[in-house]
Symmetry: C2
Subunit: 453 residues, 2 copies
C-alpha cells in the first residue's frame, strides 16, 4: 500500500439521464421514469459523494440531442440542476457544461458564480463551443459557426468571464455598520472587455465567489480544442480507446500547457471509462451483451452519423465496415470532429461488422468501455493512471443509479487498497479536490485600473 | 369568521438581500454577512412556507444595481438560487425575475422549465424588460433599447418561450421498454417561431414541465407594460401608495384582460407592502425611525435619480421638494418610468422636505410602507383586498430574516382568523396556490402542425 501522500486519482461521475449505454432506458435496472426528478440526481450525487468522488458532471447542448423515438432525448439544464444538487450534498464538486457559442458572458458568468456561492466553492464549468449544428436555428443563426470562429469567440468569452468574476477584489466588501460603508469601490473594477465578438463593460454584480472562479474544464480534442484547453483548462475530459492514444494526448496537452508557461500539473486529464462489472469476466460480458441486444440499429446509425457525418444505413448490418470509410485514423489533431478518429481507429484495429461497430459505440459514444471483474477494472484504471495516460477518470456507468453503486462498492475499495484514491475528503472545494490553486483577482493590487461602483 | 371557500388572499415574500429598507444592512437585526449563502435563503423560504405563503420572489437585473459604497449592491442570480431553495422546501412557489431584453428564449426557457421540474411545479417567471440602462453595456449594446422596442421583443420572447414549452405534448413520452419506443415523435413539435427580433426553431429539448409552463408574472406599470400584462400575465406585481391608485390600477388591468377575452380572475394583482410592526403604533414608528436614521442621503439621492431621472442633490436636505419637479402625478399611464408618478404623488399629497422624501422612499423604493400594530397591518391588507385593490400582496419586510418572522407570527394569524388566508396548502403547485388553470399545449390535438423528433 502506497503512502497517502502519493499522487491521487481524480474521479468524476459523468451523469447521463438513464445511463451512458444508449439502450439503458430499456434495461430493467435503469429508471427512465425518474430522469426529470430532482431526487434521482440527488441520490446519484449522494452515492458519488459517499464514495468521495471529486465531482459529478453533466453534458449539455441547447438543442434536442437525438432521436426521441428511440432514446431519452430530453434533458434538464445542468447549472440549475446542480444548484439543486448543491443543496442535497456537502462536499462533491459540481461540473456543468455550457456553451460559449450560445450564451452571453454576463448571464453565464452569473449562473456559475451563483452556483459557486450556493455550493461554497464546488462549481466547475465544462466549456464547450457546442457540437450540435441544430443549435444554431434555436438562436436565429443561419448556420452553426465554423470551429475556428467558435473557438475565437470561446477565448473572448472566457477572457470576459474571468474579468467579470475578478471584478470585485476579495476584500472589496467592508460592511462597516457604524460608518455606513458597505464596499470599498476602489476595489470594484469594470471588466472593460472589448473583443471582436463580445463587449462587456461590467462591473459584475456579485463579489468574487468562494473559488475565485469556477474550475475551468474543457472537452475538445481537435487542434483548436487542444490549443484552447492548454491555455485555459484546469481539467480536460477526453475519450480514448487505447492506452497509446491516451498517452499521446496526455503528453501533447502537458507539453502545450508548459509551452504556454503553465504548470502542467494544474491541468488534470480525465478520459472517460464506461465499466460493465461482473463477479466474473463472463458475467460482465453477459451484462454488456444484454444491453447491446436492446439497441435499435436505426438509432445507432443515426448517432454514428451525428459523430462522423458518415451514413452507413445503406450497408448490410452484418457486412464488414469498409476500412477507410471514416478516413485516416492517424490524423488525430485535424480540425474536424475529433470523435470521428476514435471511430476510424476502432474500425482499423477491430475490423467490425456494421452491427458490431454500433455495439462498440452504444456503450459510451466512443469512450472506452471496460468489461470485467472489479479487479480488472481497477487494473485498467491503475495502468492508465501510472503510465502517463490519465490523472483520473470520468466514470460513465452504463446505467443509473445502480451502475454507479456497483462501481463505488466494488472498484473504489480496490483503488483505495492500492493507495490510489482518497478515503476522506481533505478539502471542501472542487479546487481542493482537484489540487488546483485558487487564482488571485487579475485586478488585485492594481489600483490604477479602471474602477466603478 | 368567513367560510373557508371565500376568496382567499395570496401572499408572496419578496426577498431582497438584507431587507427592503435601503439601510437594512446597517441595522443590528439584519444579517448582511449571509446574503451570499444558500442557507440564509433556505431559512427565509422555510419561514414563508411554514406560514403557507403562496411564493417567494426575487427581483433581478444583469448589472450592478446600485452604489456598492452604501448598500449591499451585489446579488445572486435568482433562478439558480431558487433551484437550491426548491431542494430545501416542499410546497412554496418560486418566482424569479429574468429579462427578455438580455436573454435568449431557448436558454431562458430551459432554465425555467428545469426549475419547474426540480420543484415539481412551483416555478414562476417575473417577466421584465430590465429597468437599468447600465445593462446594455454588459451585452455589447450601444444603448438600452427604448421601452416600445423592449416590449415588442418581450412579446416575441414570451410567444417563442410558450411554443418551446409546449413543444412536447403532455403524452409525448411512451417509454415502452419492450418495443423500444421512447417518444411518439408526432407529438413533439418544432416551435417554428419567426419574429422581427427573434427566431427560434425548436423543438425544445425537454418534455412539458409539471405546470405546462411556469406562472407568468409581470411588473411593469407603464401603458406598454399594462398592455403586455393584460395579455400575458397571470400575476402582476405593482407599487401603489394609496387605495385609490391601487383600485384604479386593479380595475384597469382587469378591464384590459377582459377586453382581450381573458378571464380577469386569472390575473392576480399583488401590490407591494412593507410592514414595520410593533406591539404599539408608537413602537412601530420608533422602529421605522431607527431604520430611516441609518440612511445615507447621498445614497437616497442616487436611488431617487435612478427611479425618476431627477437630481435633487443640489437642494438643501431640509428644504421642501419643489411641487412639480417630478411632473404631473395624474399622468399615470404614460410611457416613461411608472415609478416616477408614485414619487410625484407623494410630493403632491405630503409636501415633504428632501430628507422626508428620501425617508419615505427608503423603506421600499415607492412601495407602500405600513407602520403599526399587527391589527393595523391586517386592517390595511383586508381593506385593499376587499375593496377592489388587490388579490393579495408582495410582502416586503424591511429587514430579513426577522422581519418576515414577525409578519408570519403576528399578522398572518389575524388574517386567518378573518378567514382571508389559508391554514394549509390545498395544492402542490404554484398554479394551484394562485388558483390558476394549467394551460393545455398549443399543439395538443393539432396533428397537422409541423413536427420533428
Ligand atoms: C467527456 C466529453 C464530454 C463532452 N460534453 C460535451 C457537451 O456536453 N456538449 C458539447 O457540445 N460537446 C461536448 N463534448 C464534445 C466536445 O465539446 C467537442 O465538441 C468534441 O470533443 C470535438 O472536439 P473539438 O470541439 O475540439 O473539435 C464532450 C466531449 C467529451 C470528451
Ligand atoms: C414589485 C416589482 C418588482 C420589480 N422587479 C423588477 C426587477 O426585478 N427587474 C427589473 O428590471 N424591473 C423590475 N421592476 C420594474 C418593472 O419591470 C418596470 O420596469 C417598472 O415598474 C416600470 O414599468 P414599465 O416597464 O411598464 O415602464 C419591478 C417592479 C415592481 C412593481
Amino acid at each position: 500500500m502506497s503512502s497517502p501522500s502519493a499522487r491521487q486519482l481524480h474521479l468524476n461521475a459523468f451523469i447521463y439521464p438513464a445511463g451512458h449505454h444508449e439502450a439503458a432506458w430499456r434495461h430493467p435496472s435503469s429508471q427512465p421514469e425518474r430522469i426529470f426528478d430532482a431526487d434521482y440526481y440527488h441520490q446519484i450525487a449522494q452515492t458519488a459523494e459517499a464514495a468521495k468522488f471529486d465531482a459529478i458532471f453533466f453534458a449539455d447542448g441547447p438543442a434536442l440531442r437525438s432521436e426521441a423515438r428511440y432514446s431519452t432525448a430530453g434533458r434538464l439544464e445542468p447549472i440549475t440542476l446542480l444548484a439543486s444538487v448543491a443543496a442535497a450534498t456537502e462536499r462533491i464538486g459540481l461540473i456543468a457544461t455550457a456553451s460559449t457559442t450560445y450564451y452571453e458572458p454576463y448571464n453565464l458568468a452569473r449562473l456559475f458564480s451563483t452556483l459557486d456561492f450556493l455550493s461554497r466553492g464546488r462549481a466547475g464549468w465544462n466549456i464547450v463551443t457546442t457540437s450540435t449544428d441544430a443549435a444554431a436555428e434555436n438562436f436565429g443563426l443561419p448556420t452553426h459557426p465554423d470551429p475556428a470562429v467558435r473557438y475565437e469567440r470561446a477565448r473572448e468569452f472566457v477572457d470576459a468571464a474571468l474579468r467579470l468574476w475578478d471584478s470585485w477584489e476579495d476584500d472589496a466588501i467592508v460592511a462597516d455598520r457604524d460608518s455606513g460603508l458597505y464596499a470599498d469601490t476602489d476595489k470594484i473594477h469594470r471588466a472593460e472587455f472589448v473583443g471582436k465578438h463580445l463587449q462587456v463593460r461590467g462591473p459584475f454584480n456579485a463579489p468574487r465567489s468562494p473559488q475565485g472562479n469556477p474550475v475551468l474544464v474543457q472537452a475538445g480534442a481537435s487542434n483548436d480544442g487542444r490549443a484552447f484547453a492548454a491555455q485555459y483548462a484546469e481539467a480536460i475530459f477526453t475519450a480514448h480507446q487505447t492506452l497509446g492514444h491516451a498517452q499521446a494526448f496526455y503528453g501533447d496537452i502537458r507539453a502545450r500547457a508548459e509551452a504556454l508557461g503553465r504548470n502542467p500539473d494544474h491541468v488534470k486529464i480525465l478520459p472517460g471509462i464506461s465499466p460493465f462489472i461482473g463477479d466474473t469476466e463472463r458475467a460482465a460480458r453477459d451484462l454488456e451483451r444484454e444491453f447491446n441486444e436492446l439497441t435499435v440499429p436505426a438509432y445507432g446509425l443515426y448517432q454514428l452519423r451525428g459523430i462522423t457525418e458518415v451514413d452507413l444505413s445503406t450497408l448490410d448490418l452484418d457486412a464488414p465496415v469498409p476500412i477507410d470509410i471514416f478516413g485516416d485514423a492517424g490524423d488525430v489533431t485535424d480540425n474536424k470532429r475529433s470523435r470521428k478518429q476514435v471511430v476510424a481507429g476502432i474500425v482499423e484495429r477491430e475490423r467490425p461488422t456494421v452491427r458490431q461497430l454500433l455495439h462498440r459505440l452504444a456503450g459510451a459514444r466512443g469512450h472506452r468501455v471496460v468489461t470485467g471483474t472489479p479487479e480488472q477494472i481497477a487494473d485498467t484504471i491503475s495502468e492508465w493512471f501510472t503510465h502517463g495516460a490519465a490523472d483520473g477518470f470520468n466514470v460513465m456507468p452504463p446505467y443509473y443509479p445502480g451502475g454507479l453503486e456497483v462501481f463505488t462498492e466494488t472498484v473504489v475499495p480496490l483503488l483505495r487498497r492500492r493507495g490510489l484514491f482518497r478515503s476522506e475528503y481533505t478539502g471542501t472545494t472542487l479546487r481542493e479536490h482537484f489540487d488546483l490553486p485558487r487564482p488571485a483577482s487579475q485586478f488585485a493590487g492594481d489600483r490604477a485600473a479602471s474602477h466603478a461602483g
